[in-house]
Symmetry: C2
Subunit: 248 residues, 2 copies
DNA sequence: CGTAGCATTGATATCTGTCAAGCGTTGTGG
DNA sequence: CCACAACGCTTGACAGATATCAATGCTACG
């Protein structure tokens, strides 16, 4: 499985870009030293599969950079993305030995992995880690439930607008920290990946993107470069309250 | 809010039916004593709202008996159920002061509530509780993701079969502990509640129930009393692997 | 007996999926 | 260097699933 290129030297936790947001956020110096001992980096190229559902999984870890997706597939090939993993998000489940979902690198991806058994031992001894993981899991549960509303009740147009608004908001808060004026970003997902996330076909995604463009809700340069001239308008199209939005 | 009828004397934790499955599952005697001090029971009749989304929430708690639902509602009235709370399931989120969803009693309901602030203090001091809550939250996250596949990719018929199979399985494991032979149970949900859970209209639910009945997948006496002659057949209709099923 | 709530069924409309053709870019091998 | 294949995407025509609107049935209950 592992080859030379997939392994990479792991930098010090002190220099880590996700140091204060990941599962290790609340660890003290000595705890970080212990984590350093059981961690290793792995890199994946866009499109590579990190792990297959059902496979034995002897690590857990955090996304350091890039985006990964969690997907489920039915026997006849229908697939549904059930999670989008961004930097600092956690992969794997302590106490479970096999993967419950396919994990795929959507973009080039760097992960900080911990050997599972020592990590589990450390969790028992280090309440910080379990507490932080609980917080993160509760956030993910909220996001999953938010997404259930999107999947169950929104129209195709609203679904697209919801996805764009989530990506735009995350991107804006990372880059500038504010949501004013026009927002510009690159879509990290193919039309097919968008369809898998939204429970649509890629044709419907394409049509609705075109429709939103025609109506001036978004501007497109090429396939991926998106400009949102009016965020409130987009959120209105998404069917969300324009003020604050999700979990405000 | 609270009236005479809604409050009820709480029995000893030692006699509690959900003692070994709820958030308190791993507590020791002295910890239970502390919990006894901050707990109180509340009863709700079918249809009553336990709490409205956005309301201040000064308790967390466990479902002791009955079923509650978590729902989200859009401005125009579209609603999506995002969780079904069964006995031992946990309600509320430590560290958050307002409810994120509407919580409604689907059947008559008894809840064991803990005052939020003392419970949070206790969580910090009692790793058992945080660990158990983490486990339960991870299970809920898995269930939510499983449901995303149902909402995003399954047909109306498969959705109904999925819901029936979940209820049947839970009911069977509670009553007899095995899944053999014909399964019989009462639906705890109205057609409308089923529709809200499945992202369908109540008419479509009704039609698909009739179709499954006509095809012999289920038998119906009255509106709610269901017999599953062949569980494997039902799971096949649900589009799940017949062996083991969800998270096997 | 009449009403209210829940459920069923029918007719029709609409949205999204399916199938198919074609475009533009990228990369590769002759 | 060019031709061509591969890939991601767009667009069109059509079909099919589910929603919508409407009428009716069934129970329980006052």
């Amino acid at each position: 499985m592992l080859n030379d290129k997939s392994l990479a030297t792991a930098p010090d936790c002190a220099d880590c870009p996700i140091r204060h947001r990941a599962v290790c956020a609340r660890c003290e110096t000595d705890e970080l030293e212990r984590l350093e001992e059981i961690k290793y980096y792995r890199k994946f190229e866009a499109g590579q599969t990190v792990i297959w559902s059902g496979d034995r999984m002897d690590f857990v870890g955090s996304v350091v950079s890039g985006i990964a997706s969690l997907t489920q597939t039915m026997e006849d090939g229908r697939t549904q993305m059930v999670g989008l993993l961004l930097p600092s998000d956690f992969v794997g489940r302590p106490g479970r030995s096999t993967a419950a979902y396919d994990v795929v690198a959507t973009t080039d991806l760097v992960m900080c992995c911990f050997r599972k058994t020592p990590f589990e031992e450390m969790m028992v001894r280090t309440p910080h880690i379990a507490q932080r993981l609980l917080e993160m899991t509760l956030d993910e549960l909220d996001a999953a439930r938010e997404w259930m509303l999107v999947l169950g009740r929104k129209t195709a147009r609203e679904k697209i607008a919801s996805l764009l608004s989530i990506i735009a908001r995350r991107d804006a808060t990372l880059k500038t920290g504010k949501l004013e004026g026009a927002l510009v970003f690159d879509l990290p997902l193919t039309r097919e990946a968008m369809a898998d996330y939204l429970g649509l076909t890629l044709e419907t995604v394409s049509r609705q993107m075109s429709a939103l463009k025609k109506d001036g809700v978004i501007q497109l340069e090429g396939k991926r470069h998106v400009t949102i001239p009016d965020m409130a308008r987009l959120m209105d199209e998404a069917g969300d309250d324009a003020d604050g939005g999700i979990l405000a």
